[in-house]
């Protein structure tokens, strides 16, 4: 009878791992560069309370777990392997954001540890998710097994609904995070009238629905249950709800809800849920493998 260790595949050659990290780095930078070059993100780093920063790390780790479990490149990975990958990506995110912030002159001698740490953690969150997406999606050879690898995996192991929910959430976070820290969200939220905001919400809903069900978007037919009207209504609603939730969480982290009237907070969520919905629909199809 073979022991546990004999059943495991041999470790990959070093070169292959290096390629994987290289793809991860590319993905990490692709998704985080807008944030690394945004002043409001640096400021959030040193304005945010250490507890909030710790929360951000935990939130990022949970997102990584979800993404690696449901869309990661190792389809047969168990939870331990998923956790190890997530730890690696978070660590690499921290190292990468430190290096880039240093090169950009945002951290250096003379700054307190709190200031340096805050900026690193804030930027590392998105870099880490980018790492995960890059490792899984930028792999040239993964195109070949999209068709065969996808179906049995989603049917056999986990409820499809949860898997879609998690990936939609990751997509919403990745896209919404790019604009969430900017002042523009508050400006739009405060200056736009209620009718236009309601229209924006409807457009977000409609856009999500169109992308998922009516545009023949890449991978849409392998990933979604089509056909029934109830399915479409449900899918559209849930996707928008995910976008709203992701937007609210990100805005809270960037301190946009601090000392703010409830209606302004809601308006901001609606404004940010537009890119969020784009991420939860188109983003999810692109990231979902």
């Amino acid at each position: 009878m073979p022991t546990q260790s004999e059943m495991r595949r041999a470790p990959p050659p070093i070169g292959e791992s290096l390629q994987e990290y290289g793809r991860g780095l590319a993905g990490g930078l692709l998704f985080s560069l807008p944030l690394l070059y945004t002043m409001e993100v640096w400021w959030t780093g040193f304005i945010a309370h250490p507890h909030r920063l710790t929360g951000l790390l935990a939130f990022t780790f949970v997102l990584l777990l979800g993404y690696n479990r449901f869309a990661g490149m190792r389809h047969d990975a168990d939870w331990l392997e998923v956790a190890i990958d997530s730890v690696e990506e978070l660590g690499l995110g921290l190292v990468t954001s430190t290096a880039v912030l240093y090169l950009l002159g945002r951290i250096g001698p003379g700054m307190s540890s709190g200031e340096v740490l805050g900026q690193i953690v804030t930027e590392a969150a998105v870099v880490a998710i980018g790492f995960s997406v890059g490792t899984a999606q930028l792999n040239a050879s993964s195109e070949d097994n999209v068709g065969e690898g996808n179906e049995p995996r989603s049917e056999g192991r986990s409820p499809r609904f949860i898997r879609e929910l998690v990936i939609a959430f990751c997509g919403a976070v990745l896209f919404a995070a790019n604009v969430a820290p900017t002042e523009e969200i508050v400006v739009i939220a405060v200056e736009t009238g209620p009718f236009r905001l309601a229209a924006l919400a409807l457009v977000s809903l409609g856009m999500g629905s169109a992308i998922l069900y009516f545009t023949n978007f890449k991978r849409a037919d392998t990933l979604l249950h089509r056909g029934s009207k109830t399915g479409i209504v449900l899918g559209t609603t849930v996707t928008y709800a995910v976008a709203l939730a992701a937007s609210a969480i990100i805005l809270w982290f960037f301190g946009r809800f601090d000392d703010v009237a409830a209606d302004v907070a809601v308006r901001q969520v609606v404004v940010l849920a537009f890119p969020g919905a784009l991420g939860a629909s188109a983003g999810r199809l692109l990231l979902g493998l």
């Binding site: 260790s5 059943m7 495991r8 595949r9 041999a10 470790p11 990959p12 050659p13 070093i14 791992s17 290096l18 990290y21 400021w43 040193f46 304005i47 250490p50 507890h51 920063l53 710790t54 790390l57 190792r74 047969d76 990975a77 168990d78 392997e81 190890i84 730890v87 690696e88 990506e89 978070l90 660590g91 690499l92 921290l94 190292v95 003379g110 700054m111 307190s112 540890s113 709190g114 200031e115 740490l117 805050g118 690193i120 953690v121 301190g255």
Partner: protein, 126 residues
């Protein structure tokens, strides 16, 4: 079937564990981890430097509070007894908790002949 890891992957994993543990530990136990005291700005001035008919005085602002100060106005005055001879001021966009920011004020009078009084006149809490 599971895939074993090679040396490089274990090294990366180890470095990651250490990095994450260090960051979390620093966040949770750092000097400003649990405090909620408002920004507290201390303003210090250095030795004046004479340049082309005016005098520059280096100013160091340190925030020893637990929160960040935004838009800090710093006033530096040359005084002789009760009388204020000349005022200089500067604005600093952000002074994060525990951090220091440096700037300069310039005077027409020679600061060495007067007493230099420096203070933060106001700031926002972001």
């Amino acid at each position: 079937m599971k895939q074993r890891k090679n040396m490089l992957e274990w090294v990366v994993f180890g470095v990651s564990v250490v990095a994450i543990a260090a960051v979390v530990a620093a966040l949770l136990t750092g000097r400003h981890a649990s405090g909620e005291t408002p920004p507290r700005l201390e303003v210090r001035t250095g030795a004046p430097v004479a340049i082309a008919g005016s005098y520059r005085v280096p100013v160091t602002v340190e925030n020893s509070g637990d929160r960040t100060a935004e838009g800090a106005h710093i006033e530096v005055a040359l005084t002789s007894g009760e009388e204020i001879v000349e005022r200089g001021e500067l604005t600093i966009a952000f002074v994060p908790r525990g951090s220091t920011r440096n700037g300069w004020v310039t005077f027409r009078n020679d600061p060495r002949r007067f007493t230099i009084v420096a203070r933060a006149t106001g700031f926002n809490e972001p």
